[in-house]
């Protein structure tokens, strides 16, 4: 089974991950990759985020989400990478890569993994701005997105 889940402080290289996904004996006709970035959509005051993680639970949680997605969407390879620690604006936070026979299952699998990751995997973001530090609050829109899959 081609599932790969990693939690790391270090950055990742999307082209390397893309190559790794492609090194599969199973036939596939689609590769979907998603990268989530640190963003500042408000007022350009964001300097960094601190990503805290309950690592042993996060590993279990991401593996469980990946296994569920793998079985549900008939994909060939599924890779999930989530970073921790201090990240700057535009830094990469999370990677999801999927190979599948067809594009629909690859897109759906990546969406499913992100929707569950954002609502179940134990990571917490703290935003450090030029004026203060504050913990990011859960968004109801993320929970609503996840419920679509139920």
């Amino acid at each position: 089974m081609g599932i790969h889940v990693v939690i790391q402080a270090a950055d990742f290289d999307v082209s390397h991950e893309y190559q790794t996904l492609g090194n599969s004996d199973e036939p596939y006709g689609a590769i979907v990759t998603f990268v989530g970035l640190v963003r500042d959509f408000s007022d350009q005051s964001l300097q960094a985020i601190e990503l805290e993680c309950y690592e042993s639970m996060a590993q279990k949680s991401l593996e469980s989400i990946a296994e569920t997605a793998y079985d549900r969407f008939d994909v060939s390879q599924l890779s999930v990478i989530h970073r921790t620690g201090r990240l700057l604006v535009s830094d990469q936070i999370v990677f999801v890569g999927v190979t599948a026979k067809h594009r629909r299952s690859a897109f759906d699998c990546a969406n499913f993994v992100m929707d569950f990751l954002k609502t179940e995997a134990p990571f917490w973001k703290k935003e450090i701005t030029t004026t203060d530090e504050h913990w990011v609050e859960m968004k109801e829109s993320d929970s609503a997105r996840r419920r679509i899959w139920e």
Binding site: G36, L51, E52, C53, Y54, S56, M57, A58, K60, S61, H82, I93, V94, M114, L117, K118, T119, E120, A121, P122, F123, W124, K125, K126, W135, V136, E137, M138
Partner: protein, 82 residues
């Protein structure tokens, strides 16, 4: 012994990331919380926040769940990763 962990805003508000407690007569999350309040009364408002979640041995559970000696019990706010 029960190993108790706190994360995120809750960890910062409590000012501690982990404590241990003799399991004694504690058999549920609710009993564990009451035992914690006996030692740290100021923790009650934070741990009783309806948004606070609990995991037992790295699996999300309800506040009504049973716990056993040797369990790892973690309290934390809703997750915000990704």
């Amino acid at each position: 012994m029960i190993n108790i962990l706190f994360f995120g805003k809750l960890r910062e508000s409590l000012g501690v990331s982990s404590v241990t407690m003799e399991s004694g007569s504690i058999t549920s999350v609710q009993e564990l919380k009451l035992a914690l309040y006996t030692e740290h009364s100021q923790w009650q408002a934070l741990l009783d926040d309806p948004n606070t979640q609990v995991a037992i041995n790295q699996t999300l559970k309800s506040m009504e769940s049973h716990i056993n000696d040797g369990d790892e019990v973690a309290f934390f706010p809703p997750v915000t990763g990704g």
